[in-house]
């Protein structure tokens, strides 16, 4: 059995410490005067959305390395990041409507931010489906899909400034109340740590699968030479 790397262990310990400290900071942060207590969702909703963007960019970077240089490591990074994009996209798309139901009175609005975010999530799901079910060309097809998804990210981010939407604009974080910043940035750091640990573990799984594939070929060679 392989040992866990010290860096991974340290990151996991920091993330575990964050689970204890961050909720305390969030509870201690002042309540937003208009929305009240439900605004506390913001402290995890925004980091989840940011990690959806980060994962999509990582997936696109890996896909570019795979498409143009044939890098297997790039392909492993792409598929690992794509899964994380779907995971954090799901977190964003579930926590958002929970916040919206209380703040806006509706679960969902087909406005530019919400619709483009859903589209991004669906593109990352399509990446995974294409990779799994599109046969031999699946890896290249999904890599191309990842590039389109990366193009969608700036559109999702700027949609609230370009179009009139019910969603708050991009000025919320830069103009955040100073007393809310420690809670927000510690939650952000916690989620980044969690993302790093999950990505490292997912990459390890992908490397183990590559080794397993090589072993299967060895066994097939052995069976053929014995026959």
């Amino acid at each position: 059995m392989r040992s866990v790397s010290p860096g991974l262990l340290l990151t996991a310990l920091l993330a575990a410490a964050g689970f204890v400290l961050v909720p305390q900071l969030i509870v201690a942060a002042p309540q937003e005067p208009v929305m009240g207590f439900v605004q506390k969702i913001f402290y995890f909703h925004v980091p989840c959305a940011s990690l959806l963007f980060l994962s999509t960019f990582a997936c696109a970077a890996g896909s570019i390395a795979y498409l143009f240089k044939g890098s297997e490591a790039g392909d492993r990074l792409a598929v690992s990041s794509a899964e994380l994009a779907v995971l954090f996209g799901a977190c964003t798309l579930i926590t958002g409507p929970l916040w919206g139901r209380k703040a806006w009175g509706v679960w969902w609005q087909w406005d530019a931010r919400l619709t483009s975010s859903l589209l991004l999530e669906l593109m990352m799901v399509a990446y995974l489906l294409a990779r799994r079910y599109a046969g031999p060309a699946g890896r290249k097809l999904s890599a191309a899909l990842a590039l389109f998804a990366a193009i969608d990210v700036p559109l999702v981010y700027k949609s609230v400034d370009i179009w009139r939407t019910v969603h708050p604009r991009t000025t919320v974080v830069p103009t955040l109340d100073a007393r809310m910043r420690p809670a927000f940035w510690s939650a952000f750091a916690l989620m980044i740590l969690l993302w790093s640990v999950l990505l490292a573990v997912r990459l390890r799984l992908e490397r183990a699968r590559a080794e397993l594939a090589a072993l299967r070929i060895d066994v097939e060679d052995l069976t053929e030479s014995a026959a």
């Binding site: 207590f37 183990a208 072993l215």
Partner: protein, 91 residues
Amino acid sequence: MRRLWLAVAALAGTFAPALARAQEFVKVEGAPRQEMPAAPFVAAAYSVIWVLVLAYVIVLARGIARVRKEAAELRARLDREAPPGRPRAAS
């Protein structure tokens, strides 16, 4: 043609006041307010995040365990069946 213009004028005369009223903002007074407690929404949001992350960690752990088990079996088979001159499977 004159009849058409008369019809248009009659329609405009009928609907113009309604359209003008529709453009005005009229605050609704005395409507019942729907007060929902915020705590269940906040609790649900946090729970969803940690449940999804935990489920993903379990899926990853099971995947790694399955791959390692199969790799160990294949290595054992290679070590057992490989002819003497052939290099052994790397562990």
